[in-house]
């Protein structure tokens, strides 16, 4: 097993959040002796037990189960690696996982359970944007740090000071895609397809604002419901318009269907197809078949790259899980777990200590071997890997890592979301 050593970090103690919570934890520990079984006591005891309990929640059953189970796989792998390397400061890490079925109310219920009954000191992975947004205030109020891994909507993190993210803001992906299309490919006219929910709207918001700024022309725009698979009529219409590129947001089943239909109707590759990070969900790999050649995706990491850490990770992951593909959810959840465990190692095993250590994190190396800066908004300046789908090899090939802060900074997008 690879150790966590390659995960480098750089702390800035000046910018650390106020350490008021440490006192509270000790007080709670004292009170916990008198009130064993009560919530606060449970949390305090967790800090001093032989294990460090971290929680995760996500859709493990239901229509979005594929996403949640992939994330869980990445988290479990990170925990297993940590324990195999001796744990965190001598303590084993224990993972508590609950199924939220992709349901907002269920998400709130299970995070309460893992905080109040299980005494987790941190939560990793998060869930879908919609469920993470629902659960975030509860987690924040309980002062348990969470690193959301695959929730791209601004609202998950904004205003919740215990919630961190290890993913890009959806708008950034659209912004980067549109800049690539216009500046590097000189495309002028576009069709935009938007999945009508938080994530899909974010990508399209970013793309539209970039096209507006760079004087691109949107010849066609259409919203569609999540899980839509029928794009024949829309692609026929787009083909008739003769656009240079199609920018689409959505989950992988929709992306896959749209790509296949576009190729069948001979719209692609004449027009360039651009998609967001769901391009590395398992359903894309399972469903795209021989289609999709040259599709450009905005990804939050790329595995494999030539970086030794990534190569080692891919080999170990394959050995441990039998999976050749490191999915979007698994990769981000793996990194978010490493980030939490790294914070526990630096700061201590209590919720408060982890929160402070996370707040002090100024950079962290991601799965692709890129050093990622962390902002004061608890958002990473995650480089976007623009990658092109190689249908013959059934994998993405790196076009470039977009690291220009003006393109990948999540902060300017906060103003669009209340």
């Amino acid at each position: 097993m690879a150790s966590l050593q390659p995960a480098s970090f750089n702390c800035d103690p000046v910018a650390a959040p106020e350490r008021s919570g440490a006192r509270l934890t000790r007080r709670a520990f004292g009170a916990g002796m008198l009130a064993a079984g009560l919530t606060g006591g449970h949390r305090a005891l967790a800090a001093d037990s032989a294990t460090i309990k971290i929680g995760t929640f996500g859709p493990f059953t239901g229509p979005a189960a594929g996403l949640g189970l992939e994330a869980k796989k990445g988290i479990e792998f990170a925990v297993a690696q940590s324990n195999a390397a001796g744990g965190i400061n001598g303590k084993k890490v224990e993972l508590v996982a609950y199924d939220d079925r992709g349901n907002r109310a269920e998400a709130v219920s299970v995070v309460r359970k893992m905080i109040e009954n299980d005494g987790v000191v941190a939560i990793v992975g998060g869930s879908l944007s919609l469920t993470s947004i629902a659960a975030a205030p509860v987690i924040n109020e309980a002062k348990i740090p969470m690193v959301a891994a695959y929730s791209n909507a601004v609202g998950v993190v904004k205003g919740e000071d215990h919630i961190f993210r290890w993913a890009s803001v959806a708008d950034v992906q659209g912004w980067v895609l549109a800049h690539h299309a216009m500046r590097e490919r000189n495309f002028k006219t576009f069709a935009i397809l938007m999945q009508d929910e938080e994530y899909g709207r974010g990508i399209v918001n970013g793309a539209e604002r970039a096209l507006d700024e760079l004087k691109g022309k949107v010849a066609y725009k259409k919203a569609f419901a999540p899980a839509e698979r029928e794009f024949r009529a829309i692609m026929t219409e787009i083909k008739g318009l003769g656009v240079d590129a199609v920018i689409m947001s959505g989950f992988s089943p929709s992306l896959t269907s749209a790509a296949r239909t576009g190729y069948e109707l001979e719209l692609f590759p004449k027009a360039q197809f651009y998609i967001g990070c769901s391009a590395t969900e398992i359903n894309w790999y399972n469903g795209i078949g021989s289609y999709g050649q040259g599709t450009i995706a905005a990804l939050e990491f790329l595995a494999p790259t030539d970086h030794p850490f990534t190569r080692q990770f891919v080999a170990d992951y394959l050995k441990a899980t039998g999976e050749k593909v490191v999915s979007h959810q698994a990769g981000l959840a793996y990194d978010s777990t490493r980030l939490v465990l790294d914070a526990a190692k630096r700061g201590g095993a209590s919720a408060d200590a982890i929160w402070h250590a996370l707040g002090e994190t100024r950079s962290f190396m991601n799965l692709s071997g890129v050093e990622v800066k962390y902002t004061e908004l608890r958002e990473p300046l995650l480089p976007i890997a623009l990658a092109s789908w190689d249908a013959a090899g059934q994998q993405y090939k790196l076009v470039k890592f977009e690291q220009d802060a003006a393109l990948i900074d999540p902060r300017p997008w906060y103003k669009y979301y209340n």
Binding site: T61, P63, A65, G66, L69, D196, K222, A223, F224, A225, A227, E228, R229, E230, R232, A233, I234, T236, E237, G240, P253, T256, S257, R260, E264, L265, E266, I282, N283, N286, G287, I288, G289, S290
Partner: protein
């Protein structure tokens, strides 16, 4: 819009309508005789897709897999009739409807447990590619769906209009008790109806699996709601009305989701269509008042 584009969209709508019709006709058959809203038909449709994929992976012959899936799904439909609906027939029909919804949810979970939560590929290289004539493009799989649907409906028409079994089914659909009094084995009729409707649904499931290269546990969900809308729009139990409704709905969806800014999903369009029609013509397109 050019004539060419209009014709292309017409082909797209017909292909979509064919898929809807394959599901809705089975529902209309069951409703016509038993007055049960057989929502679990959507589960049978998904089961057909999974069985077809499994057989194709094992045997390697698509025609054999397709026929195998239709036969096995037909048998599954008969089992549902025998062990779920028949014991419930003396009770109010709402009981059977609730059981049917429960069955659909169970199907979805069973598929997830057996095959996993992600979509599985149903890649058929022989049906890849497209035909092009006069500037119109039609993919091979679309052509197979259109021809297959037409073939199935011709066979169904022959069965219902030209055979003894068809006569019995039509009699049972008019009045189940009277048909029994006249010496028709209505249980046999009902068994055959479930077999036929389930086999047609399996044909649809396999074809949709190949069309989208995706077989997945909840693939029946969308079809369940739409199927219900279609049998109401068509006129409860009217086969011709249901087929007509399928193609009209597909055309409406094609226009509304492509050329208007109406922020409705396809399901939303179907339900809007349903509400409007019920207000104007409560008996449906070809139903009796």
């Amino acid at each position: 819009m050019t004539l060419n584009l209009l014709l292309q969209q017409l082909i797209n709508a017909m292909e979509l309508g064919s898929i809807y019709a394959m599901i809705a006709v089975g529902l209309a058959l069951v409703y016509g005789v038993l007055r049960i809203l057989h929502v679990a038909q959507a589960g049978v449709y998904a089961a057909g897709a999974f069985i077809g994929l499994f057989l194709y992976q094992e045997i390697g012959s698509f025609p054999v897999s397709l026929v195998g899936a239709m036969l096995l799904a037909g048998a599954l439909g008969m089992l549902i009739e025998r062990f779920v609906y028949r014991p419930m027939l003396p009770r109010p029909r709402i009981v059977a409807l609730i059981a049917s919804v429960g069955l659909l949810i169970c199907f979805s979970d069973i598929f997830r447990i057996i095959a996993g939560p992600n979509q599985l590929a149903f890649e058929l290289p022989s049906l890849r590619g497209s035909y092009e004539f006069a500037g119109l493009v039609i993919s091979r799989i679309d052509a197979v769906i259109l021809i297959g649907t037409a073939g199935i409906f011709v066979l169904l028409w022959v069965l219902l209009q030209k055979t003894r079994l068809g006569f019995e089914i039509r009699a049972a659909a008019q009045d189940l008790e009277a048909a029994a009094v006249m010496g028709i084995d209505v249980r046999r009729c009902v068994r055959w109806i479930f077999f036929i409707s389930s086999a047609i649904a399996a044909f649809g499931g396999v074809m949709v699996g190949v069309l989208y290269n995706a077989v997945y546990p909840d693939m029946g969900d969308m079809i369940a709601y739409k199927g219900l809308a279609l049998i109401v729009i068509g006129g409860f139990g009217s086969l011709l009305g249901t087929v007509l409704a399928s193609f009209l709905l597909a055309a409406a969806e094609t226009v509304l989701t492509t050329y208007t800014a109406v922020p409705l999903s396809r399901e939303g369009v179907a339900m809007l269509f349903l509400v409007l029609l019920v207000l104007i013509r409560p008996q449906g397109l070809l139903g009796r008042a």
